[in-house]
């Protein structure tokens, strides 16, 4: 009797967990969809309207595509940032 109850609760828990994961997937999809299509979508539309490029994907005939940079050591404080 007690092992039957144990099996029932275990099955109930697993089922509930699985249901929770499915709900989480749906919620993720909706939330991320909203962020993507509204947030990024509006940004993309405005960018295209004003000719702003976020990524250089066009091939170029330029004789050199080296971008000059000057990356060297900075103050220790600057490395505490994630950017």
């Amino acid at each position: 009797m007690s092992s039957g109850l144990g099996d029932f609760f275990k099955g109930f828990y697993e089922g509930f967990k699985s249901f929770g994961q499915s709900v989480s997937k749906v919620v993720n999809l909706i939330l991320l969809g909203v962020v993507y299509f509204v947030g990024m979508g509006l940004t993309a539309i405005f960018a295209k309207a004003f000719g702003k490029k976020f990524l250089e994907i066009k091939a170029t005939d330029s004789k050199s595509t080296w971008e000059k940079v000057r990356i060297k050591k900075e103050q220790l404080e600057n490395y505490k940032r994630m950017f």
């Binding site: 993720n28 999809l29 991320l32 969809g33 962020v35 993507y36 299509f37 990024m40 979508g41 940004t43 993309a44 960018a47 490029k53 976020f54 990524l55 250089e56 994907i57 066009k58 091939a59 170029t60 330029s62 004789k63 050199s64 595509t65 080296w66 971008e67 000059k68 940079v69 000057r70 990356i71 060297k72 050591k73 900075e74 220790l76 490395y79 505490k80 940032r81 994630m82 950017f83």
Partner: protein
């Protein structure tokens, strides 16, 4: 001062601990979790590093991370916006990981390590640059870092002098030689970030007949800069890498594990040729900018040992240093050295002379393992006698698992976690594949020889401790060591000196006494699909699951045939999968 450098969440998570600017310990997480290329937070590697130094997290001055996550996130968002609305699947897949892990790195480090100190973030390509230059023997050096992509940079040129590193030119995402190589790897039915070296090996069998086609997809300038025609690629906004236009140009993608056709092999050969052309032009340009004959390289593309072996011939560079974990696994180490030597301006006092930085196991530990598990073994009091016996077994065409000392850092086995075999036996490649490695037929095995002998066998004036250079084998020696001679007459060489690894060196010399040849096959000690073995348990399990005949663990010799109760077939499950695939 203790500094811990880590990398995780993309490729090959790893940890490296410095004490006063010298490496105390370093290891990849995969070796502990037994999950190949494990990207998860390297808690096991970190615990090992702390244990090795006999310290706790409270003794750490800094924890350093190998990139700037927010700048990388900026690149991800930019790519998604630019490719709206086609980038939604990639956005949906990537965001949970970013929001739950990658943007919360500081708190994850603090929570998982119970660490309350400072966490520092170093630019990815700077970390790569530091990982090679600051541990090289050079006071001054030109630096090339080249990989798939860091935050934005895919290729960087720089210069190192003393403690300082400056990067002065870069190429940015999505234009990337590393991603080009990975894209073709995927197209050829291999795994991205895992099998690029297989494509490199495959290239030797083909001809670069697709060169004109490749010139349409990558434009290389005379100064070595380049740009990709992104209409052939979709990796910047989709989960796959090549576009329909690429497939129309080169034919259908190869199904994984299916037979290789001539066009696949020729495409691999062309990819390798174009990579070499780009690299040599880049390096010549770098030399013109720096006028320095020393070169340090890092980034995943620096593991292309075929290119590396040709650099001296095609560029003015004379001395080259590449550390064994040149990919992202080593960038965590680089971030630690960058902070210590460059930012804090502490004197450089460490040169990487060997890669033996992982866990080691005492003879007592090994004996306890063997007796506790009722394993039949022979203990040798005289080490020389065991090494002579090992050489004799190899000479008799037995396959030996060789486990000793501290585990190697990086993807190569270098004598401490190696499988050794007879290179003079022309059948040995097939025997090793059939019994142990189950690799694709086209993949060669690599030779190890001594520092005194390599010039007799290889067309090179430079040895290599870390197995990162491919050189031609002398024509009159190719028939002597057929099992390590690739179809194009080359070999990826490891040279070892008595000082670097006494026992490994001695096995080679003992083999020479029997055969007249001071060369062995050295291949990584692992079951196919698993990481290189780490512990005595891993080593024993590997031997018993494959056709390795004997296992030498320090001064113990264990025979597979002497322990039938522990035999199992590691190939069986995989064979069934391949049969199902037809």
């Amino acid at each position: 001062m203790y500094i811990l450098g880590i990398d995780c969440f993309y490729h090959d998570a790893a940890a490296c601990l410095l004490k006063d600017g010298k490496i105390v310990a370093a290891a990849e997480e995969e070796r502990f979790t037994r999950r190949k290329h494990d990207i998860n937070f390297p808690i096991n590697a970190i615990k090992f590093c702390l244990r090795q130094a006999n310290i706790t997290v409270d003794d750490l001055e800094f924890v350093t991370f190998y990139e700037k996550p927010l700048i990388k996130f900026e690149r991800i968002l930019n790519s998604n916006i630019e490719m709206f609305p086609f980038s939604f699947p990639v956005f949906y897949k990537a965001m949970p990981s970013w929001l739950n892990e990658k943007l919360k790195l500081k708190s994850i480090i603090r929570k998982k390590m119970k660490y309350n100190g400072e966490v520092l973030f170093v630019d990815h390509h700077l970390a790569h640059a530091a990982s090679c230059f600051l541990i090289s023997p050079f006071k001054k050096s030109a630096i090339l870092t080249i990989d798939g992509v860091g935050e934005w940079a895919t290729t960087s040129l720089g210069f190192g002098e003393g403690n300082n590193i400056t990067l002065f030119e870069q190429i940015k995402f999505p234009h990337s030689i590393g991603l080009l190589y990975s894209a073709v790897t995927e197209y050829l039915g291999f795994k991205v970030n895992n099998d690029e070296y297989k494509v490199m090996g495959l290239a030797a069998l083909g001809e670069p007949t697709y060169y004109d086609d490749f010139k349409k997809i990558i434009h290389i300038n005379e100064d070595g800069s380049y740009s990709l025609d992104m209409s052939y690629f979709i990796y910047h906004y989709k989960l796959s890498m090549v576009s329909k236009k690429f497939i129309k140009q080169f034919g259908p993608k190869r199904i994984p594990e299916s037979d290789l056709e001539k066009r696949h092999i020729d495409i691999a050969a062309t990819l390798q040729k174009i990579t070499e052309d780009a690299m040599f032009k880049m390096l010549n340009h770098l030399y013109e900018q720096t006028k320095c004959k020393n070169l340090c390289m890092a980034g995943g593309v620096a593991l292309n040992c075929v290119v590396n072996g040709k650099i001296r011939k095609h560029t003015p560079f004379k001395e080259i240093f590449i550390q064994p974990a040149a990919s992202d696994a080593g960038a965590g180490m680089g971030s630690a050295f960058f902070i210590y030597n460059t930012v804090l301006d502490r004197k450089r006092e460490f040169t990487m002379e060997n890669a033996y930085l992982g866990p080691g196991f005492s003879r007592d530990h090994i004996k306890n393992f063997l007796t506790k598990n009722k394993i039949n073994f022979t203990e040798f009091k005289d080490d020389s006698e065991l090494l002579r016996k090992t050489a004799k077994l190899i000479f008799d065409n037995k396959i030996i698992g060789f486990f000793q000392g501290r585990m190697e850092w990086g993807p190569r086995a270098l004598g401490n976690r190696s499988i050794l075999a007879n290179p003079c036996n022309p059948q040995m490649k097939d025997i090793l594949n059939d019994k142990v490695k189950h690799r694709e037929d086209f993949r060669p095995f690599a030779p190890v020889t001594t520092i005194e002998d390599f010039k007799k066998y290889f067309e090179s004036d430079h040895g290599d401790t870390f197995m990162l250079f491919v050189y031609p084998i002398k024509k009159d020696k190719q028939r002597t060591i057929p099992s390590v001679t690739h179809v194009d007459g080359t070999g990826r060489i490891q040279t070892v000196s008595r000082e670097q690894n006494k026992r490994y060196y001695q096995v080679i010399k003992e083999f020479e006494k029997l055969s007249g040849v001071p060369v062995l096959i050295n291949t990584s000690f692992n079951i196919r699909g698993e990481p290189i073995v780490c512990t005595p348990e891993d080593a024993y399990r590997c031997m018993m699951g494959t056709g390795i005949d004997y296992l030498v663990m320090e001064n113990f010799l264990i025979g597979r045939a002497d322990n039938p109760k522990d035999m199992w077939d590691s190939w069986k499950g995989r064979r069934e999968i391949l049969i199902k695939m037809g």
